[in-house]
């Protein structure tokens, strides 16, 4: 046996990865998904080259060639001389209402889409993982409370909740984060001390809550609630959408992680690891998380798709990015009036509507294909065929 064979013989993880990759290559759906996503990544990365911004300071503002209300078809010439000087001669995809260049909007909209999708998923993931680990690991009453909380969030229709949050969140968010931060900090410190002293988690939790309560009483009663630390975050409308979607999206991950932790915890090999003297943290990191990661990855990839769809829906309803921002959903909302309104030929201005829609559709399709294909491949019960 040469070295290469030896390496693959000895490393089960490598073998698994190779097997997964082989199955990925064989699945036409996942190949298509990856191709689509790669395509969009290229567009996003090369946006400044593919569509050089007319105003370098505000690349996300779609330039408008005049102010006329009627959209012009693909191939129309750029009329404004200033814009011509920047290198644009032709509207490749035509213009939408207000003479916004569709091509520009779609290209830069890719970046917006990635930004929204990835950021929301990352934030939801972090929150979700944290909650899920706490819930699954400690169990008991912490688990009960967190699960109820998660259920309640899941009970709300995401779109409406996001809308309400976008409206409710003020432009500048004055966070009195001093007090909540202090509470969380105290709680965590007590928990850590308890863990260090090998107290039962229920006991440390009760002590933690007790200390927090004492602190709260002192703060409000004795000290008269002085502001500890105030932070003002300025939120644009788009940021508000991001935050709202993240706040609505984390319960899914919590459920998945918690489920995995509970499932793996009762497996025999965890018992064996404990018997061999592994610490809890090590068990979580080495045994539970790798198994749980598969489900989380699948979920994240499907989530990106649905987040982009929800954000587009919000834009369509007028909530989200400011007017003229490079955002696919917003572009379709302009087009709405031009497809209906009882004209003879609803398809006269098809480009205002079909093209941005195609971008949204194919982008989401790519992620969904990938997520679905991965789900099929990584499902361990279905693997060995």
């Amino acid at each position: 046996m040469n070295l290469k064979q030896l390496k693959t013989e000895l490393s089960p993880t490598l073998k698994e990865v190779k097997f997964t990759l082989k199955r990925v290559r064989k699945s036409p759906l996942s190949i298509l998904g990856m191709a689509i996503i790669t395509f969009y990544v290229i567009i996003a990365v090369f946006a400044p080259v593919l569509a050089p911004p007319v105003d370098p300071n505000a690349p996300y503002a779609i330039f408008h060639d005049g102010y006329g209300p009627t959209p012009r078809p693909p191939g129309s010439e750029v009329l404004d001389s200033w814009i011509r000087n920047m290198g644009w001669t032709v509207h490749y995809f035509g213009t939408a209402e207000g003479q916004l260049d569709i091509y520009y909007g779609c290209i830069w909209g890719t970046r917006t889409a990635f930004r929204i999708g990835l950021m929301v998923v990352v934030i939801s993931l972090i929150i979700g993982l944290l909650m899920g680990c706490l819930s699954g690991y400690y169990g008991g009453i912490i688990d009960e409370i967190l699960m109820r909380f998660t259920d309640i969030i899941l009970a709300f229709p995401g779109l409406i909740l996001a809308m309400a949050l976008v409206i409710a969140l003020p432009r500048v968010w004055r966070l009195e984060i001093g007090f909540p931060l202090a509470i969380i900090g105290i709680f965590i410190i007590i928990m850590l001390i308890g863990h260090f002293l090998k107290l039962r988690s229920a006991i440390s939790a009760s002590l933690g809550i007790l200390s927090v309560a004492i602190f709260a009483v002192l703060y409000y009663g004795v000290l008269g609630s002085p502001p500890i630390y105030t932070m003002g975050i300025e939120l644009t409308d788009l940021d508000k959408v991001l935050v709202a979607l993240a706040l609505v999206g984390w319960p899914g991950y919590t459920r998945v992680i918690r489920g995995e932790i509970l499932r793996v915890r009762q497996e025999d090999y965890v018992e064996a690891a404990k018997a061999a003297g592994c610490s809890d943290v090590r068990i979580i990191l080495r045994h539970i998380l790798p198994n749980a990661m598969y489900s989380v990855v699948i979920m994240a990839s499907l989530d990106i798709g649905s987040i982009v769809l929800t954000a587009a829906a919000l834009s369509f309803l007028g909530i989200g990015a400011p007017l003229g921002y490079a955002d696919w959903g917003q572009m379709i909302s302009f087009a709405r009036g031009w497809i209906w309104s009882g004209q003879e030929n609803p398809w006269q201005f098809w480009y205002t509507f079909i093209i941005p829609g195609l971008f949204i559709f194919t982008f989401v399709l790519g992620w969904n294909l990938l997520g679905d294909a991965f789900r099929d491949i990584l499902d361990p019960t279905l693997r060995r065929r």
């Binding site: 809308m163 309400a164 798709g305 587009a312 497809i339 398809w347 559709f361 969904n368």
Partner: protein
Amino acid sequence: MGLLEYTIRRILLIIPTLLGVILLIFAVSQLFTPEQRATLYITSERQMRDIDSIINQYHLRESVFTQLIGWLQQLLQGNLGYSRTGGGPVLQVLLRKLPATFELVIWSIPLTVFIGIYLGTKSAVHRDTSIDHITRMISIIGWSLPSFWLGIMLIAIFFQGLGWFPPERMSQPTFNYITLSGNWHWYTGLLVIDGLLNGTPWITIDALRHIILPTITLTTINIALIVRIMRSGMLEALGKGYIVMAKAKGLSNKEVINKHARRNALIPVMTVAGLLTAGLLTGVTITETVFNIDGVGRWAAVAAGGGGTVPDVPAVLGFALFAGIVYVVANLVVDIMYAYIDPRIRLG
């Protein structure tokens, strides 16, 4: 334990969750300014000018606890506030707009579920062949379509282009008949059925013509959920020991799939279907907006301030409460159905 015991236990468990929902809504309402919260109780222009007295009357600047108690009191009386966009008390507006949404859901759920089950079974049985790939592709495509995009396109093709299926819930003549003729009686709240019950079959046909496009929109998008879960359920069931046993008994492939595997695979599908129903009841916002149907979803969208208008706070809160309750009840129903179908759960 028997089914009855289980049901009672589950119902009791709902109460803390419902309480949680109510509390959460209250917490969200605290994010609004007192002025915004006062709009709950304003029913006319005149009151708008005298907003301070309303604030004082309902203690809206006082501590959180006083407000909570006050709000709960109002809640128990059925007073969810006055909806500006709905033009009436929130509860009434909700009940008035509910049938339109309900009718939409009633048509699309069975369609989604049945087609989904069929495709999911086919997909699982012919795993990794082209049938499988095509079915999954179709359902994923449906899931990836933006609902507003699909809706608008369908309208453009089938209404503006071909003139077959109009948007909205009913045509002008139907509307006139219902509101003006004095002969119309709402039996079920569902246009299609009530058209027959009232002896006016042309209304039923009209309703069907209107409802077909939004139903197709919803079905296309949601089919993927059912297909996916049916497929994985079937694949899991087909790998079990009783399948080999069934074959060893001499049963045909079709019998094995339909009788043995499917029954087991349907269990998780029931859960998803139940949750989907709940999701649809509260989530058809975009479809209702695009098709201009006067249902609960569109009301919520307008209330939440679509397009930059001032938000109708009482409506948003009221709708949120409605959504929470629907979801909790749906979970309950699903759990009970689950216990009914799977004897292992029921008989412990």
